[in-house]
Amino acid sequence: MSQSAVPFQQYVLKVHGRCDLACDHCYIYHGHDEGWRMRPAAMTEETAKWVGRRIAVHAQAHRLGSVLVVLHGGEPLLAGVSRLASIIGALRAEVADVCELDLRIHTNGVQLSEEFCDLFVSEDVKVGISLDGGRAANDLHRRYLDGRSSYDQVVRAINLLREDRYGILYQGLLCTIDVRNDPVDVYDSLVAFDPPRIDFLLPHATWDEPPFRPSKAGSETAYADWLIKIFDRWSASSGQVSVRLFDSIIRTSRGSDSLTEAIGTTPSNLAVIETDGTYEQADSLKASYEGASRTGFNVFSADLDEVAGHPGIAARQGGLASLSAKCLACDVVSSCGGGLYAHRYSSESGFTNPSVYCPDLMKLVRHIRAHPPNGRSVEPGDRHALADDHYDELAAGYGNADAIGHLRDAQYSLARALLVKFHDQASTVALAEAARFDLRGAWKTLVGIDKVAPTAFEAVLCYPFLRVWAARCLESLRSVGTGDADPASVAEDLGHLGSIAVAAAIQAGISASAVVPVRDGSINLPTLGRLAVPGGCAECTAVVETEVGAASFKIGKRQWRAVRSDGGELRFDAARDARWQPVRQLTGSDLSVGLDDTDAYRDCYGYDLAPRASAEQFTDWNHCFQAAWKFISDDYGAYAPGLAAGLKTIVPLVPHVTGREISATARNAFGAVAVAPVADPVILALLLIHEFQHVKLGTLIDLYDLFDPTDRRLYHAPWREDMRPLEALLQGTYAHVAVSDFWRIRMLAGDSGAELAASRYEYWSVNTAEPIETLANSGSLTALGSRLVDQMRETVDSWSR
């Protein structure tokens, strides 16, 4: 079976090949290709089953997590409710066990009824509708064969989708441009229907059959001029509705992917399947010449990998390499990408031409880049980067202080983005339970601290559990209103913003005030500790006020006051009935690490958290840590600098009943590891080294695409009985490079534990080398991922030289 470079992930399924409108700009019935006349009007259930099978096999072979299928035509609603239901059922039956099936339907809307909408709700099929603007604009082309307007029927359909019961179906509006229409009128007419998204489509044209252009000066950029008027209006309204073409130009200008095949250099991953099961290339090619979209394959005899090998498909996956010399030399090529493939065609030179809309695309892209909407950047921002040697050092399993410092810097950027995203999402959610927290005030406090005390702000934002909190909130906010989230619990999570704000204010030594949640009898201040308050708390909130060197905590009429010592600790004047539980520091010779048994968001490890350590238990922790750190500093020089630079927090866990060691890392908690107390410093050293490997690799995965995230296969991991996903195998293998190294060095030390160390080294080195090859042969690593695995292999191989 041949493998396509880019697997098909999007399918246009022609469920009905005829149309009830006779739009004169339609490429199907007014284009070169008359293949529709030879095909059955509607797709059968049997054909749909074959389609589903082919998609499922392709998705499985290429390990796709989801595929998109657009039910299309002709006019797909002409298939009728019953036939559409059977086609959808056939597709789901074949594909459901393999990957997610994202179903859409694109319709002219004139037949849309409650019965159709009920089917689409039950089958989760999103609906897009074609509309060219207001009545006059729409009636220029979108008419019945007898000349009647379709406008009223389409408006009725759109209004049906705008009803609450069907609102989840409403995908957007597609407008084909006619430059004779007034662009602002068209845009305003579309926006009046509150579409989630609008897309503007250039009429299909080629160099052989150029688009209509008004015969007046400047008409060579008539389409750009038309779109620019809309862009300027869209921009002035702060982009109130998503316009795919504009968003794509902004995204591609910044170096991201386009959202549409019409522009950009993203290789096409789209196949079309006709009513009779024949595979075709992009529908738009029908505008080029007779037979341009044909592949000669059908679902009954050919799988999708064969289709992917078709030269026409491969040509559309060529990205920059398939563009003309003129395009490659152009300053806007990263955005326009040569335009839609079909629009490049000429009978003289095929598709190796700029788009027939080249002057329009060039002018439009340049205009948008010169006039980005407020808040939108069209410049690729500075990105975090690792020097080659830092990357390779980390990939080999190590990483010095500089390399770890870069990882931490990147985490700070991510934390800032998460905080802003939290603010954006939390400020728009309607959650009555959150009203008691002054989120706006807390945000303003943080904005101010960021400006006047950036070091204190950074310390709080880089605290390991801030990202845990932010991620939890953002996920919860997606669920608000769905019944999946407990509003009171979500509100407390949101209210934690106040705790972050006053923690930063205390760190900065400035005045601030915030309403904060009281959870499980405690007021939590990240980085600092918690105030355990006895008795009930009817409101479950407290007011924390900070000033230079002091803070007060109020719950109703109860109040506690603390001053901040020179060492930064909070000291309560008389703790009275409350207990301040600070984050205590474990101190090695040249290293201080917080033992955090207080933070409200440290429950991210999947293990039971140890309760607050007593003074004696903390002393035991400290002795063990000091010895472990000396051990690491003396014998593990390749790991010590990285640990010293990056390990900031240890979270104590409840020991396992059997006494076996427990340790864990959370992907969202950079700089922290969780460990159940151990008596042997050697074991603590091993656990710290092991877990910090996960911390490092987690950030590398944040920074770079190391593997194909759509690979859903499970792999054998020698150290586990169950099969593991690719990322987990990579994480485990990377950690076990260090575990093997740990025992190797113990073995070479020749002390009393050398025999045990030798046996463990033998076990782990073998069981690390094997999954390295599994990873290398997975076919799912990117170039950087392969480089990482190569370095890991190099480390393991070096031990036997």
């Binding site: 246009v12 739009c23 020097a387 080659d388 991510l414 905080l419 802003v420 954006d424 770079y704 990117t782």
Partner: protein, 58 residues
């Protein structure tokens, strides 16, 4: 689609450096924020948005 990085003296990451951008500016720079957040919280509905639904017309 997965990206392939080129070997170079520096390996540019997918994460924009936002350390020096004020929170207020970030609050209106939704592209920068969204690009970063998607690295932490992948939203399968966001990347590789469907092109097909709006690239063909009836």
């Amino acid at each position: 689609m997965i990206s392939v990085e080129e070997r170079s003296a520096k390996i540019t990451s997918k994460v924009e450096d936002l350390r020096e951008v004020s929170l207020e500016d970030l609050a209106v720079e939704r592209d920068s924020v969204d690009d970063a957040v998607i690295r932490v919280l992948p939203d399968e509905s966001t990347p590789r948005l469907p092109v097909a639904a709006f690239n063909s017309m009836i």
